[in-house]
Amino acid sequence: MEQINFNILAFYGFAGLAVISALMILMSKNIIHSVFMLVLVFLSVAAIYIITNAEFVGVTQIMVYIGGILILMMFGVMLTNRIDGGKMLTEHRRIIPAVLLGLGLAFVFYSTLQTKFPLAEFGPQSELDKSVTETIGINFMTHQLVALELTAVLLLMALIGAAFLAGSKFEDKK
């Protein structure tokens, strides 16, 4: 009983942390602050995955997003802004349409959730005979093998494409 209470408490804590950090990204004009707030969002979402019986996805989230994408983004921020000792700021535009769109979308989701959600009634949690990571590994090597290989090819293409785009000097035709 104690364990379950702690899980529920942790879920709402991390959900609130994720939403508040995302709102701070939205409000903040400082790009560096926004990218560091993104770390908090990704960490909270990883914690939510782990609470939701998906340890492997949570660890993948931490390794790939926080270890990979955020470092890439910091490099991108440093390379595409003038470094002159001042703060790196971004301006805001079209605030009123964005707020209106957000409110409209929130209303759409709210009215959808008012009806009884047909998939909401799950049975009791079925016990896995293997651990989650084991099941994922077996699935990758059996049912999802084609998708796994295609993903590998796609990653290779993205790697070569990104290296080519960022590394090559195109001729200036002007």
């Binding site: 379950i4 899980n7 529920i8 879920f11 959900a15 995302a22 709102l23 990204i25 939205l26 790009i31 926004s34 990218v35 993104l38 969002v41 990704f42 979402v45 939510i48 995955y49 019986n53 998906a54 996805v57 989230q61 997003y65 994408i69 890439l72 983004m73 991108g76 921020v77 390379l79 595409t80 971004t90 301006e91 805001h92 079209r94 605030i95 349409p97 707020v99 769109l101 979308l105 929130a106 989701f109 959730l113 998939l119 909401a120 799950f122 949690q125 989650v132 099941t135 994922i136 699935n139 998708a147 796609l154 990653l155 993205a158 494409g161 990104a162 785009l165 960022a166 195109f170 200036d172």
Partner: protein
């Protein structure tokens, strides 16, 4: 036991915030941040619905989504860097010439 609706509410909140970031921010990298938030919102739904699934189909799907997000992010950052090197702008409103 956390009800599934709460996962959906969290996911919807992250999606709305990500969409507003894409519209409001002027810097190209912040637009990329919004896209990553939206992908994370989709992943939360996949993982939440796979909670009671013994085959873990949703978790497999979310792993593929993470991989696609990485590839997309790397290529997008390379394009942003190349555009900055050519035109010295990183604000998407000031990008008005596409004749590389």
């Amino acid at each position: 036991m956390i009800p599934i609706e709460h996962y959906i509410v969290l996911s919807a909140a992250l999606l709305i915030i990500g969409l507003m970031i894409i519209i409001i921010k002027r810097n190209a990298i912040m637009v990329l941040v919004g896209v990553e938030l939206i992908l994370n919102a989709a992943n939360i739904n996949l993982v939440a619905f796979a909670k009671n699934d013994p085959l873990l189909t949703g978790q497999m799907m979310s792993l593929f989504v993470i991989v696609i997000a990485v590839a997309e992010s790397a290529v997008a950052l390379a394009i942003i860097y190349q555009v900055y090197r050519h035109q010295q702008v990183s604000n998407i409103d000031e990008l008005d010439e596409l004749n590389g």
